[in-house]
Symmetry: C2
Subunit: 329 residues, 2 copies
DNA sequence: CATCGTTGTTCCAACGATGTAAAGGCCGAG
DNA sequence: CTCGGCCTTTACATCGTTGGAACAACGATG
C-alpha cells in the first residue's frame, strides 16, 4: 500500500507537499501540484485513516449503541444513521446491548475519546449515574428528566394521544394499552398520551386495561393480548407501544378468531416495514426515522466541533399511518 | 485521557514496562507489575486503539458489505457477525450497497488494508472483475464459480429441494417458484433445487410457474403472486426464494381471498423472525445464521493470520421450519 | 573471580499522517 | 543592490503505541 512517502519520492517533492496537495492546501506551485497528482494517481494512494486520525486527535468513528439489530426499528434506524454519518465522513460502529443493564454498562465503558468521537445512545435500562461520558452524545427516544444529555425524538405524548384519538374516533370505548414498563420513560410518556386522549373524550381510565410488557418483542405482545382476551370484559381496541407488540397481539387475535378490526382495532408504534404487509396491515404511528438519524448526527457534528454547546432537545415529526387493523378495506 | 506515558510517570517505570504489563508480557518484577497495575487503575488507562493498530499494522476492523440493514435477514445476520467479531477483538463496519452495482463498486473501492483488516461480502450485482481485493475476504451466499474467493453459506440446491419436497409431500401438484433472477447465482441454485424436487417426484416443469423478482422485497413478492393468481390455471403452492417475497405473496393471497394453506401452500426462505408471527405463520427454510456468522469470521481470522491459505467453501447447516402456511393448525 | 545465561528494564526507532517553524525563492520598493 | 514581504517548500517533532536492541542486575557455573 502506497504511503505519502512513496508518492513524495515518485513526484520528487517532500512528504509535506504531497500532504498539502491531498488536503487541498492552496499554495502549491501548479507544476508541483500536477506532478504530485500524477504520482497519486500512479500509486493509487489512499490515506491511512488510522494515522491521520491519530495525528488529528479524532477517530473518525461514532458509536451507535442500541439493544439489538434484529429488532426491525433499530435495524432501519441503523441503516439511516450509517447513511447520515457518511456525509460527515464518519463511520458507524454498532454496539448491541441486548437491552440489559450489564450490556449497556459494557457498551458505555467501551466508549471513550480514542475509540469514537461521539455516540448515539438508545438505552433501555441505564440509570442516570451511568452517564459519565467524556465525548459528545445524544439519546434517541426518551430519558429521565435529569439526565444531562441531548435528545432527539418525537413527542411521545402527542403521538400517543393522536393514535388513541384515532381509535376513539372510530367509536371504540374500551381501549387497552400494551407496553407499560416500570423503567422506561418512553413507556410512561406513551401511557400519558393514552390517558390524555381518554380523558379528552370523557372515557374512563381502567388500569386493568393497561398491560405491562417486559421486553417489546412479538412474544410479549402475544402474551399480553392473551391476558386481555381472557378478561371478562375484553377491550374493543388496543394501543400497542411498538409494532412488534402489535404484531404479537394480532397473532393472538387470529389464533382466538377475534376479527381485526371489527371486534378489535389495533394500533402500533414505529411503523416497521413489515407492518404494511401483515394481514390485516397494521395502523401505526410513524416517526420520521430519517429525520431522527439526520438530526442525531448533525447534533453530534456540532458538539464535536464545539464541545461545550448546551444540551439540546430536538423534536422530529411523526404521522399516523392508517391501515386495515383499524379501518377495514 | 491517560496515555502510557502518564501511567509510566505515575508508576515510576518506563513506558515500555507499562506496555509490557498491559500486553501480558511475562517477565516483569512482581512489585513493578503491582505498581503499574495500581497506576493503570488510578488513571483509568485505556489503550488508544488507533495508535496500537497503526503500530501493529492492523486496523482492528472488518467490513460487512451488505445490501441494506432494513432487510431483516441482513439485520439479523449483522447482529450475529458483530457478536462473532467481538470475540476476535474486531469491530465491524457496516457498508450498505442498496443492491446496486455502483453501490457495491463504491464499497469495494473503499475497502483497503488500512481501513479494514478483512471483509465479509454479500454482493448481489458484482462481476468477477470487481474482486480485486488486497485483503482477506469471504462471500456469504453464492458467487459465480470462477470468483477467487472463499464462501460461507448453505447448500442452496439441497435446501430448495428439501423445501419443495415438503410441498410435494403435502400432495401439491402445481408448485410455483417466485424469485428467479438473471444475475443472482443464488436464484439459479434455488431454481435448480426446485426443478430437482419436481423431477424426482415425476412432476412436470412448467416455466410459466417460475416468476422472476428484480428485488427480493415484499412488494416484489406481492406483484409476482398477483401474476400467478391471474393465470388461467393458478398454482396450488409457491416456493419463494426468500421470506420477504413470501410475505408479499401471502399478502396478495389474503387480498384475493385465497386461503392459505388450503388453496395455496407457501414456503419461504431465510426464516426471518417475523415469519413465525404472521397469520398464517410462514413455513421457511432456516439457515443457521449464527453458524454462518461464526464461520465467516473464523475464516477471516485464519486468513488474516496466514494470508495465503487456500480459498475455502464452508457449508453451514439448515433446517425447515414447518408452520401454518403449509400445514394448517 | 571472570564468564555466562537468564531475567528485567530502558532507550530508540518506527507506524503514517499533519502542524509548526524555518528556510529558500522571488518580486518589487527604496 | 539590499531589504522586506510574500509565496512555496522543507525538516522536524509529534500523536500513542509496540518491536528490537542495548543494557543492567542477578545467581549459577567453571
Amino acid at each position: 500500500m502506497a504511503t505519502l512517502k512513496d508518492v513524495a519520492r515518485l513526484a520528487g517533492v517532500s512528504v509535506k507537499t504531497v500532504s498539502n496537495v491531498v488536503n487541498g492546501y492552496s499554495f502549491v506551485k501548479p507544476d508541483n501540484r500536477a506532478r504530485v497528482e500524477a504520482a497519486l494517481e500512479a500509486t493509487g494512494y489512499r490515506p491511512n485513516l488510522g494515522a491521520r486520525n491519530l495525528r488529528r486527535g479524532r477517530t473518525g468513528f461514532i458509536a451507535l449503541v442500541l439493544p439489538e439489530l434484529s429488532i426491525p426499528y433499530f435495524a432501519e434506524l441503523a441503516g439511516l444513521v450509517i447513511a447520515a454519518a457518511q456525509e460527515h465522513e464518519w463511520n458507524v460502529l454498532i454496539e448491541q446491548t441486548f437491552g440489559t443493564l450489564t450490556g449497556e454498562r459494557l457498551a458505555m465503558a467501551s466508549l471513550g475519546p480514542h475509540l469514537v468521537d461521539a455516540a448515539i445512545l438508545s438505552p433501555e435500562a441505564l440509570h442516570v449515574d451511568d452517564f459519565q461520558l467524556s465525548i459528545p452524545a445524544v439519546m434517541l427516544g426518551e430519558h429521565a428528566v435529569d439526565v444531562p444529555l441531548s435528545r432527539v425524538g418525537i413527542d411521545n405524548v402527542a403521538a400517543s394521544t393522536f393514535a388513541v384519538r384515532h381509535l376513539i374516533s372510530l367509536g371504540r370505548k374500551r381501549i387497552a394499552a400494551i407496553g407499560a414498563h416500570p423503567q422506561r420513560s418512553t413507556a410512561a410518556l406513551r401511557l400519558e398520551g393514552y390517558r390524555a386522549a381518554l380523558a379528552e373524550a370523557g372515557l374512563p381510565f381502567d388500569s386493568s386495561l393497561v398491560v405491562p410488557a417486559l421486553n417489546y418483542h412479538r412474544a410479549d405482545g402475544a402474551a399480553a393480548m392473551k391476558a386481555l382476551l381472557d378478561m371478562r370484559n375484553p377491550p374493543d381496541a388496543v394501543f400497542c407501544f411498538n409494532d412488534l407488540l402489535a404484531v404479537g397481539a394480532m397473532r393472538t387475535a387470529a389464533e382466538r378468531f377475534v376479527r381485526v378490526p371489527r371486534d378489535l382495532a389495533i394500533v402500533g408504534f414505529d411503523n416497521n416495514d413489515e407492518s404494511a404487509y401483515s394481514s390485516p396491515s397494521l395502523t401505526s404511528v410513524a416517526p420520521d426515522k430519517a429525520a431522527i438519524a439526520r438530526a442525531a448526527v448533525d447534533l453530534l457534528r456540532q458538539r464535536a466541533d464545539s464541545p461545550d454547546l448546551a444540551m439540546d432537545d430536538v423534536q422530529t415529526p411523526f404521522s399516523l399511518q392508517v391501515r386495515e387493523s383499524t379501518v377495514a378495506r
